[in-house]
Amino acid sequence: MALSGIQIYKLLPQTNCKECGFPTCLAFAMKLAAKQVELSACPYVSEGSKTQLAESSAPPIRLISVKAGGLEVKAGNETVMFRHEKTFFNRPGLFVRVKSSLGVEAIKDLVTKADAYKVNYVGMDLVVDGFAVEADEEATFTEAIKAVRSATKRPLILIGNEFAIKSGLDNLSGENPLVYAANEANWEAMADIAKKYSTSLVVAGESLDDLAGLTEKLKVKGCEDLVLDLGLGHLGNRLAKSTQIRRLAIKKNFRTLGFPSITFANGHDGQDAIEAAQAIGKYSGFIVLDRFAPDLFYPLLVLRQNIYTDPQKPIQVQPGIYEINSPKADSPVLVTTNFSITYFSVANEVEGSGLPVWLLVTDAEGMSVLTAWAAGKFDSERIAKSVKEFGISDKVTKKQLVLPGHVAVLSGEVEEELPGWEIRVGPREAVDIPSFLKHAL
């Protein structure tokens, strides 16, 4: 049971020594309750308190890391069922499946292309995380691994039986791939391999009962870094299983299944996109797609980015130019901040007025106009910067910029920052925008 700030405070020294980096013990206790800080930051906490607090803070899902070439894909350490409760931490890795039967040249082509793939989304470059090399023909596996490694440095998942995996691992060094998979028949051999090569190991089983049986046996063998394969199946089935293991781990602290999971998305006609999308939202740690295509990866990478953003930040809209009522070159430019409620109230009023407007949404870190101004996040510099950054000058001939009435004080400075623009001050309340547009402009 999670402890409240006050309950934790009672277990702390209450000396307000500030050595943890917080001004008081209560401030530190509240951060602990919110799981935003580690107990180890307190140098004076008693052993007894440590034990009591440790139970409420250990991560229920083991952190698994797959590494190669200085790159790392992490999964696990999640603490909630729903992102709004805190946040989802480790974005699931997106892997492209490479079958060894494809042949060396085709493999090189595919991997080179996918490895080089890079798509820009709000200033970030999103990429493919790695490759899942499968020994669908045992004989070609080592050649396939070599071909893949010649074309990418990214982390790998190896798929095959224990013999293929062993030969594969012998051809790799200095990395920790994820091995797929230990099952009821081969788990002992796989456990030996995973230990010998210090790799993480996927566990495959029909049901959660099977999986639990295997993880227990593997733990006894000394394999702790495990990943669960929930199997193929209908979306409904996948959802049920992933929900169940997440819930067992988080709500019941059931360590036997306290591991991240792996999902294969291999449907046809766009169904793979749907399967992968479900896996992103519903708790998967590693996602393997059967094909690589930019029109498939771009939306998935963006979805993953979206679902894994920190929901504790204010709701924002993307800064940029919003066209309302089909603005033309002589339509006015209205400026506002990127706080969602502010944006919506301005956009609704403008939309309702029926008058064409360019709405320039400035990055004010998700604050309303007055708050952002008070905190220095909505000043002439930021406004001028977004005018330039979003290239609004190219779209309008009549350079008329309307500031929110609350920041009338900025008009002079904005004028200086933006020569050639006519700076106007609009109303303070969104409700007055239509009449301002009709009468004052």
């Binding site: 409904g236 067992l248 299944l257 939202g281 930019p294 979805l303 979206n306 609704n348």
Partner: protein
């Protein structure tokens, strides 16, 4: 080793809502659509059966919109110029419900009149047997001016009138109550605002099984995560017993997705975005499928291929 699966038992239930009325029920629809009634988070059939599956609506306009993506113009073709034809095409494309979104101006650029709007609604009802949702153009005065006569002219059809917002809900709710229709309540991606509008509408005496809520969403890449979490929170609150959030949710991923540059245009975009058509279908489909898994009961879409894929996903989700 048998594992005991933890199951959530929730005190709350989502209202079951039926849209449309057949001849025998005082309307003219060839079929009605029922949704809602959930007692668990979406599709968790190990906890409780899913009483009604989410449904797909297709959005049509009163005349051919100028600003829709070429891909949409291409796929709907000539049907777009006639709302009746468009509605029929939408029915053939697999829609469960038609959403008719009225425009500020008619095809000649004159303001849409109540007579014209009523005429359009009647044409659509005549051409297609599916239940109907009508969205006003989104301007307070005009919405009220158009929706009231539409409501009266279609008395008994159990259509949905939209869109109620916190600053304009009274007139729409009153006419819907008087004429046996439903309303949809839209709020901008905020749990509290959503709940507040539901309270205001309920305070007017609107029966609970005639309210839909639209918590608004962003498209993939444009704020979907906010809509996503707001919807999850609303559904959780409803299941926890908060009566003012126990309404089925309608969202418009089609509208949102097709606004984005990713879906809308095929030229002048980065090569890394891939094939235009496939990308835009994915954009709309993934937006919709993600939201269905947070609790959407109606998703309003635009492209027939997305409709097909989303319906596939719903069927798949129902299979345990």
């Amino acid at each position: 080793m048998p594992i005991e699966i933890p199951k959530d038992k929730w005190p709350g239930t989502i209202h079951t809502v039926t849209l449309g009325a057949t001849n025998g029920e005082g309307g003219t629809r060839s079929k009605t659509v029922t949704f809602g009634g959930e007692t668990t988070m979406p599709f968790l059939q190990f906890e409780a059966p899913v009483p009604h599956k989410p449904v797909v609506a297709i959005e049509i306009k009163d005349h051919k919109p100028e600003d829709w993506s070429l891909l949409l113009a291409e796929v709907w073709g000539a049907a777009m110029t006639d709302p009746a034809e468009w509605a029929k095409a939408a029915e053939n494309a697999g829609a469960d419900i038609i959403v008719l979104a009225l425009s500020v101006n008619d095809e000649n650029g004159n303001p849409t009149t109540p007579e014209k709007a009523v005429g359009t609604v009647k044409k659509v009802l005549g051409a297609c047997g599916l239940p109907l949702i009508v969205f006003g153009p989104g301007q307070v005065d005009l919405d009220n001016e158009l929706l009231v006569p539409i409501s009266e002219a279609t008395k008994g059809e159990r259509i949905v009138l939209g869109i109620c917002e916190d600053k304009n809900y009274r007139t729409i709710v009153a006419t819907a109550m008087a004429n046996g229709h439903l309303v949809t309540a839209r709020t901008p991606m905020d749990v509290n605002l959503s709940k507040q509008l539901n309270i205001l509408i309920t305070d007017m005496g609107m029966p609970a099984d005639r309210i839909l809520m639209d918590p608004t969403t962003g498209a993939l890449g444009y704020g979907i995560e906010y809509g996503y979490s707001v919807m999850e929170r609303l559904r959780l609150a409803a299941l926890q017993g908060d009566t003012m959030t126990q309404f089925p949710m309608i969202v418009t991923p089609g509208f949102e997705a097709w606004k984005t540059k990713e879906a809308k245009v095929g030229e002048g975009v980065p090569g890394s975005w891939g094939d235009w058509k496939e990308r835009s279908i994915n954009w709309e489909t993934l937006t919709a499928v993600s939201l269905i898994q947070t609790g959407a009961d109606i998703v309003v879409l635009r492209h027939p291929e997305s409709v097909k894929r989303v319906k596939y996903a719903i069927e798949e989700l129902l299979m345990a």
